[in-house]
Symmetry: C3
Amino acid sequence: MKTLILFLFMGCGFLFGESSTTGDDALFVVNNTWMLVSAFLVFIMHLGFATLESGLTQAKNTVNILFKNVSIVAIGILTYAICGFNIMYPGTFNGFLGFSGFGLSIPSGAAGLIDYAGGNYTYFTDFIFQAMFAATAATIVSGAVAERIKLSSFLIFSAIYVALIYPIAGSWTWGAGWLGDKNFHDFAGSTLVHSVGGWAALVGASILGPRLGKYSKSGAIKPILGHNMPLATIGVFLLWFGWYGFNGGSVLSADPGVVSLVFVTTTLSAAAGVIGAMITSWYISKKPDLSMILNGSLAGLVGITAGADCISPTNSVIVGFLSGIIVVLAVIQLDKLKIDDPVGAISVHLFCGVWGTLAVGIFSSDYSFTTQLLGVSSYGAFCFISSVVLFKAIDLLFGLRVTEEEEIIGLDIGEHEMESYAGFQIFSAE
Amino acid sequence: MKTLILFLFMGCGFLFGESSTTGDDALFVVNNTWMLVSAFLVFIMHLGFATLESGLTQAKNTVNILFKNVSIVAIGILTYAICGFNIMYPGTFNGFLGFSGFGLSIPSGAAGLIDYAGGNYTYFTDFIFQAMFAATAATIVSGAVAERIKLSSFLIFSAIYVALIYPIAGSWTWGAGWLGDKNFHDFAGSTLVHSVGGWAALVGASILGPRLGKYSKSGAIKPILGHNMPLATIGVFLLWFGWYGFNGGSVLSADPGVVSLVFVTTTLSAAAGVIGAMITSWYISKKPDLSMILNGSLAGLVGITAGADCISPTNSVIVGFLSGIIVVLAVIQLDKLKIDDPVGAISVHLFCGVWGTLAVGIFSSDYSFTTQLLGVSSYGAFCFISSVVLFKAIDLLFGLRVTEEEEIIGLDIGEHEMESYAGFQIFSAE
Amino acid sequence: MKTLILFLFMGCGFLFGESSTTGDDALFVVNNTWMLVSAFLVFIMHLGFATLESGLTQAKNTVNILFKNVSIVAIGILTYAICGFNIMYPGTFNGFLGFSGFGLSIPSGAAGLIDYAGGNYTYFTDFIFQAMFAATAATIVSGAVAERIKLSSFLIFSAIYVALIYPIAGSWTWGAGWLGDKNFHDFAGSTLVHSVGGWAALVGASILGPRLGKYSKSGAIKPILGHNMPLATIGVFLLWFGWYGFNGGSVLSADPGVVSLVFVTTTLSAAAGVIGAMITSWYISKKPDLSMILNGSLAGLVGITAGADCISPTNSVIVGFLSGIIVVLAVIQLDKLKIDDPVGAISVHLFCGVWGTLAVGIFSSDYSFTTQLLGVSSYGAFCFISSVVLFKAIDLLFGLRVTEEEEIIGLDIGEHEMESYAGFQIFSAE
């Protein structure tokens, strides 16, 4: 390690020398710092997911959801270090599959750590920013399959999805693969992150089937209420907060013009998503529905993620507003199809992810709608098939769903022998 | 949009060229980055308000408070994009009223986006930082009128207050208006943000009258307890956290000397506010009161906001300590006057906002106490009158207060047909 | 103050002049900005401690824990301004004890504010970053002595520990004292912060004795469950989040190579800590224990803190994984010794702090294991003895432990006459 550290200081020697820091050197430090700031912002999104998902589900399954969310972060980061990073950014490959080895290894040459990305950031910065992204795709699934999936089976699914499916899919566009070659544009991952997670969420929720009692034979839909709305609200605000790193960091530098544009489009779309969902749900259900406006803001955020760098502020309001409408209609539609998604993850991440990716082809003349559609379909096919195979295989080998008794008493007692709110008097929704 | 993006890259071409980044270019990128960091810090203050206000009120009104806080952020940002920004920074005007058009429009000329604020940040950065501020003024009102105001009426009030009153008031000082000309100093908004919100809070709470049962005819004051102290504490810490962007970003650059001074004065004042409120309330009520020290830290933060850049560290301790005393006395005094403010918003934002603005005239020899008093009075008169007119008009047109039955069962069921803590056994305070 | 501000602008004149910002100037602004970002990240760790500790304890003691955590931040910052900073960084001294005066005073000379730390940050930045660290040591104690210590006695202990013991200990290594001379390496404080707090936690918990009913005479251990697992999870994520400033800022510049390495080692160790604790506790107790993986991530973070800058990414996984194992075994062992630590603070901060400091001697060839052991032992002896003296003295003078009745009804009612969850039906664990 001595060598590495010596090298670090030598590598930076030119930056911290007597009096001769150049403007380029200083710019490199700013760019790198911004990418690290973005990395910690994306990190806190995991707390956002954890609180949103547990807030929107029942108190008796809270420990289970928290356990999953903490574990996924750890599993996602470690598998990304072991193989994900090298699958996603494989160097030269056939455009579909590639792998440049296990573990982290600084590209050869003395300046490999530093002179890595056109002078914008170091190798380690690249890894940590991308690693923070990786786990989000699996976390999206977590919400849709909540309250009925076996813990161990979910962890196995997540580990494989994050270690293999996500980085292979990512390599096609961000890793200089075949879709990148075709000028498919997904700035920060409406498709590469959110839909990739969303497809698995759809498959998982469908294969598992709805929670007990959710849909009666007569077709009536029984609402199963979230147990803690402040917690859900904390989740949404933290996700929005972290999105400034998710989208802002995807500029891959601190370029003032682009990063500030991205901040504006991201913010306006999220705000418009709130209003779109508010109007739609208030009109349909005749009451102001908090969970709908919470999902509306996330819808706006997912919707703008593909084009935050190339859609004008005014059009970003349109993208967000439509995302807010889409998410409300999707939630209603999925319920009609008896696909039970306790937190609305499929509506937010899959539907708005698809919409946002297509919106790039509509609102930016640099990108073709047909190519965007090709990208959306290719990712859909790949992720759908992968998820079906994976979930079915795990179901066969270990079983996917907890027993009926366990679902009724709750997974906290059933899987963890622990309560989330010791001492509180809580009634079961059953 | 293609043009814009091309322009962005061209506009930044000089920054990211071959080897010729100058020190000025690099400095521009740092300054802009710091302003964007400040923007996301101010954003998270909205979660701080949401959690603080819901924590300090009753469980039966929590969904309502969360709904208001999420909506206000969206409404505040969108109205600020539509007209607020161009009212607040109108270019040339008579010093009282001005408007430079609807929507966001980059100043003309190829460098309009970049070369906008003396090379410190872009046009979009300016907008997003200021937009994050805008909604806070309305959010302050939210707490004071909580648990009894009609949702729709509150949203209408907020939209108008944020779209018109706040930016007109702001333009007088920060938009190069008549008070700016007189050297009135309000660094980050003890008056322009906090008192502007505080006056409306005072008017709203007075016009609405107290919550049912709060004050008996005999003059006894019945405490109506907050339902979730961890939530309130989360709120205070997040507000303090976000204040580093609120005050730190108000430097409008990353100037190391000034920003680091602002961090120190802000922190010391908040800490001293805790101690001031702790001693005062412990002395008066003979017990260590958590909600008082929480409000004490906010008092210290509001108090130092006007002079964080021009008050010495030692004096900032004095400003904060006195703020902590003021907030406790104000809470007690308002209760005697039967003005019912469930979360102490008037005491924190109005009383300490006034105190902090006057403190600039006391502790900094660069600014005149008389001018500071003139500013405080002018904003007071303008906001007081505007709020009375607005609240009265809305009351006349739509009604301001929910029915007695709705107040008793709670606004969550009454307005939203939803509970915040489904499954939990909760007693009403009535 | 006029002079100071004039000076600030003059001092920065060279930075913001016509067209002549040098690369060095720009680099200085980046470095300073990064240190301020790190400062606000460390600040939010206090919210992490507050929520973690209250989540893992009983609902009847929540107000008390929140009150302590808010107070400690205020007390820690103010005492650090009064004397701590000048004890910890005393300039020339005998290597063991030194003090350079009360209050904050910019080093003499016009450039004293700016040209302070080799052009990396200002005097104020240095103070605020270090002040944010200071309170953490006392906060660590808070968790271990929770649910039975008298509020006033705890506040007195904390004030003295933060004002005197912590900075004296810190000066030995970071203040150019005798251990720094010996090349003892503790990058960001596995020992100087975490063990220093951990030793006091051990002593406090031992002197106070266990909570009523925790250990029966037959040797049986009664679990006293935490009342709010989402709150505890929020705490852990916020601590992890803040750690990017804790470790990242300890680089004392924005040096891209070192800061990005620190981000990677910190993250991998935390993730590996989760997995280490998960496997160990699942193996031992046959169930997936949420509180163990939460403490596992903190264990990994504490473990890597001493060597985050000099341990390779691969080895950081080993350090974190072993930390996760250590924390689980330590929790079990302390329970066998009837040392009652409600939140696991001693296991996390003391045990993993010691391990992490020794790990530097194992995994980095730049540092000697013997010297690391010497440092660990010296800090252990000093903090252990200081804590015993302090706690015993306070016990004698004011009493340390609340009455049995108060402990049973809870400290919220007993000390504060207030409930944390007004309206909720809550059962006592007794």
